[in-house]
Symmetry: C2
DNA sequence: TGATACATGTCGGAA
DNA sequence: TTCCGACGTGTATCA
């Protein structure tokens, strides 16, 4: 990984066109060839970047560029899409290289997939007598997170979100509409399950006869024997 | 901006929990206090980060940590949400500080707005005899991208997307529902226009009687005389 | 390979 | 402040 602090201007042409006026910025060149351009604020997202696979070609300035004060030009080109990032360097204030090695990678806990797994294992959270039919039940317009049956044996379609927003209710509504046309499943009741359900989403769901269930992630994780706590 | 190359492990607890095992990584501390943790591959997105506003608190290791080889601990806490990022540093390989100043910011020239302008100018792309009424036609729930009339003089509402997703169909459906209640406009036909339309979105649109039109951005841009190519 | 949904999405604008 | 839509969204999963 190469770290460069430089006065530079940047031009990008690809899915859009963008220009960064002359200023001092951090340039990061990663081992895979990708390049990031960061300012000193606005976290997380670079001002500009090039994703791998790409190639960096450095070149000396021509007379006109030298006249303008440019000491070096980087042309970063995406291998497949031909997107191009051009960094015009006016002054290099820092330049260092570092061996980092490969990263073991991030371990996540608490995303939707995990919620779905936990709820499938603890389907009785939805009520006495509920039984799991299957996760990711396929329909023509996409997979329903969980299909189950209630104590009476009637179908229940469950949409799981980390944060229960109005979009999720719309999504479940589409599934329900479709599934209720299937005589093998109909009638299908809907359950909207989330760690947190926004008031608007709850109102819309209940207006459509969809039951809302707030999931206690920590409690469900606590019950899950197979889970090893990270902390 | 402070740049640190360090052997470290990282733990995040907030909207989810995540853990990074011991490895050598780049730590960036920006002027606004935000922290990025980057590996040497996977561009653009850090492995872990903390967005501003947040505070970084550095501390000496306790005996147990020192035993484990930790020489310093960073605790980065979000000011509002109490999300926490803990960086356990085992060895610092590089540490430098740089004054960057404020960045003049990115100038963008997007595709989305341009698509709308082009289609307004070339409204006949929708079919013979179509005429533009206006762009950004205002309704009670927001502006419709384009309102036009077809050869028979009937109203046509157009929703434009770069990528035609199911959300766009929902959006257009809401507009159509509202506009069809307006006797001066009704009946209003719907057109879903995008550079690329996803199969799911097409299915839903056609099920609702909405016509799908795939826009050829390059061809439309080629026809547009007013466009000056930047490259 | 292509399509689809998730994301600590982030970010910006308007009500 | 919340809501809503765009993003050079990126990325993993699954057919």
């Amino acid at each position: 990984m190469r770290l460069v602090i430089a006065k530079c201007s940047v031009d990008y042409a690809g899915r859009l066109q963008a220009h960064l006026p002359l200023a001092t910025r951090l340039l990061v060149v990663k081992a895979d060839g990708s390049v990031l351009v960061h300012s000193d604020s606005l976290s997380y997202k670079p001002l500009n970047w090039m994703s791998p696979p790409c190639t960096l070609q450095s070149s000396e300035p021509d007379d006109e560029q030298r006249e303008a004060g440019i000491v070096e030009t980087w042309r970063v080109t995406h291998t497949k899409t031909a997107d191009t990032l051009v960094v015009s360097i006016y002054e290099i204030l820092h330049d260092s290289d570092h061996e980092l090695g490969i990263d073991p990678g991030l371990q996540k806990d608490g995303v939707e997939a995990h919620l779905q797994k936990l709820l499938a294992e603890q389907i009785e959270v939805l009520g006495e007598g509920h039984r799991l039919i299957r996760r990711e039940y396929m329909t023509a317009i996409g997979p329903v997170d969980i299909l189950a049956t209630d104590a009476a044996g009637a179908s229940v379609a469950v949409e799981i979100k980390r944060r229960g927003d109005i979009d999720g209710v719309e999504q479940l509504t589409r599934y329900l509409e479709l599934m209720n046309r299937d005589p093998r499943l109909a009638p299908v009741a809907g359950v909207f399950a989330a760690q947190e359900i926004k008031p608007q989403a709850r109102t819309l769901a209940e207006d459509r006869g969809i039951r809302c269930v707030v999931l206690d992630y920590d409690a469900m994780r606590g019950i899950d024997d197979s889970h090893t706590r990270l902390f």
